[in-house]
């Protein structure tokens, strides 16, 4: 079967976004044409809109069941506008002290900061939480928040170990970049993910709450949409894009895994004074992070862009707040000259090979310029 994803040549920043597959854009346009009414209305147009939203929710439940390796029902799925919003709804409905890892997203760490008695657990050099320290923090916590894997460096977190050693502790699991890429770990109670992660539209995320969790839903959570008016076309786009990914997930993950192996080996052999970060084995298949000494991240991103490659960086000069990535800092990694690669869906081995060909000359150009 032909792949539906055709990212632009040289795109190695899939986390930064990729074009909507044509089939997803078409499904969204059709849904916008038919689903314009308020889905709570009882008239014909309202029912039509409601049916589209219900179908999208049910499709996501089916495909997420496949990704999670267990049955997830439609009623357990909520939509909202973004992952940070989904996490806020999840935590608002579950009071009590929170334990979380130091390499969770800044949005989640901010939510933890305003909550009383939050405990933040540190990580090792790969960016993996200290499971023993987490176990101790869990003893005095009502809820834990953990990512399936770190989206900056790819390292997987020991969710199943935390779940097994703390069976009473509900885990709010951030499945960003993991759905359809790796089988999800077992043992979570609430899950969040954004549709952009599977090449779906922006502005749509999901919160899954297992039925047995004593979570208090916000008022007006009508038809599963939390906060604001339902984006019906967005929900349909999210469902269509997830279905497409789940149909191809095994092939895509295998290819991405091999391409990242190629990148890791090529970066180490092609550059001097470079440190490749993150767990080389227990990782997301499509993410690689490395730091190049004696260059600025900003200059290297710009130099690669000139040569036709779009990449991201966690260096201070590229970040929003003139601070390096909190993930790299927590790992004790070198934060300068940092490059984050994330293969978009449909990325080809040719793209990866041509990146490896130009990388040494891009680094040499930046170093010569200093």
């Amino acid at each position: 079967m032909a792949l539906i994803w055709h990212p632009p040549a040289g795109l190695l920043d899939g986390m930064g976004g990729q074009p909507l597959p044509p089939g997803v854009a078409t499904a969204m346009a059709a849904a916008a044409a038919q689903g314009w009414a308020d889905p709570r209305r009882l008239h014909h147009a309202g029912r039509q809109a409601g049916a589209l939203l219900d179908a999208a929710r049910s499709s996501i439940a089916n495909n997420l069941s496949m990704a999670a390796g267990m049955a997830i029902t439609t009623e357990e799925i909520y939509f909202t506008s973004g992952v940070a919003a989904a996490q806020a709804f999840a935590l608002d409905g579950y009071p009590g002290p929170l334990a979380l890892g130091s390499v969770e997203t800044t949005a989640l760490l901010d939510l933890g900061e305003v909550r009383p008695a939050t405990q933040i657990v540190g990580v090792d050099a790969y960016g993996r939480i200290d499971a023993e320290a987490f176990h101790q923090a869990a003893a005095t916590s009502a809820i834990a928040a953990l990512q399936v894997a770190n989206t900056e460096v790819g390292t997987c977190q020991p969710i199943e170990l935390v779940a097994a050693t703390n069976p009473e502790l509900p885990i709010l699991m951030d499945a960003s970049q993991a759905i359809g890429r790796i089988p999800l770990p077992q043992g979570w109670s609430m899950l969040t993910a954004g549709a952009r992660d599977w090449a779906g539209p922006a502005g749509v995320a999901i919160l899954v709450v297992r039925r047995e969790v004593r979570w208090l839903p916000p008022i007006n959570a009508d038809r599963g949409w939390l906060g604001g008016f339902p984006d019906i076309a967005g929900a349909v786009g999210a469902a269509t894009a997830l279905e497409a990914l789940m149909n191809e997930q095994v092939t895509l993950a295998q290819q991405a895994h091999a391409d990242i192996e190629l990148l890791r080996a090529g970066i180490v052999s092609g550059l001097t004074d470079v440190e490749v970060l993150g767990d080389p084995v227990w990782r997301l298949p499509h993410i690689l992070n490395f730091s190049v000494l004696y260059v600025s991240g900003e200059a290297l991103v710009t130099e690669l862009d000139k040569r036709g490659f779009a990449v991201a960086s966690g260096s201070a000069c590229v970040a929003d707040h003139a601070r390096p990535s909190h993930v790299l800092a927590a790992m004790g990694a070198y934060t300068g000259g940092n490059i984050r690669l994330s293969l978009p869906l449909g990325c080809t081995t040719e793209t990866v090979e041509s990146f490896l060909k130009v990388l040494p000359s891009a680094v040499a150009a930046v170093r010569a310029d200093i």
């Binding site: 004074d273 440190e275 390096p324 790299l328 800092a329 004790g332 934060t335 300068g336």
Partner: protein, 81 residues
């Protein structure tokens, strides 16, 4: 231990302080203590990480004496550098 080499890299951003540190470390014999003064927010992370990667010994950090911005990092050059 009194530093033998002082590098004042205040006002210079990543990667310049680390480049200056590397250059000084290559010129000095093993056991030399270098003091690097930097107000780059990345230096707090990158000086210890550079020491780890280059087998130098990170001796610690302290505020600058005059109470201004920045930190003094002390590094001992290792034989393997």
């Amino acid at each position: 231990m009194e530093p033998q080499v002082w590098l004042d890299e205040r006002g210079r951003r990543c990667p310049l302080p680390i480049i200056a540190l590397n250059r000084a470390a290559m010129e000095q014999p093993a056991g030399t203590v270098i003091a690097l003064i930097s107000d780059d927010p990345a230096a707090k992370f990158d000086v210890p990480a550079w020491c780890r990667i280059k087998n130098a010994t990170f001796l610690g950090e302290s505020p600058v004496d005059d109470g201004g911005d920045g930190l003094v990092f002390q590094i001992m050059v290792d034989a393997a550098n």
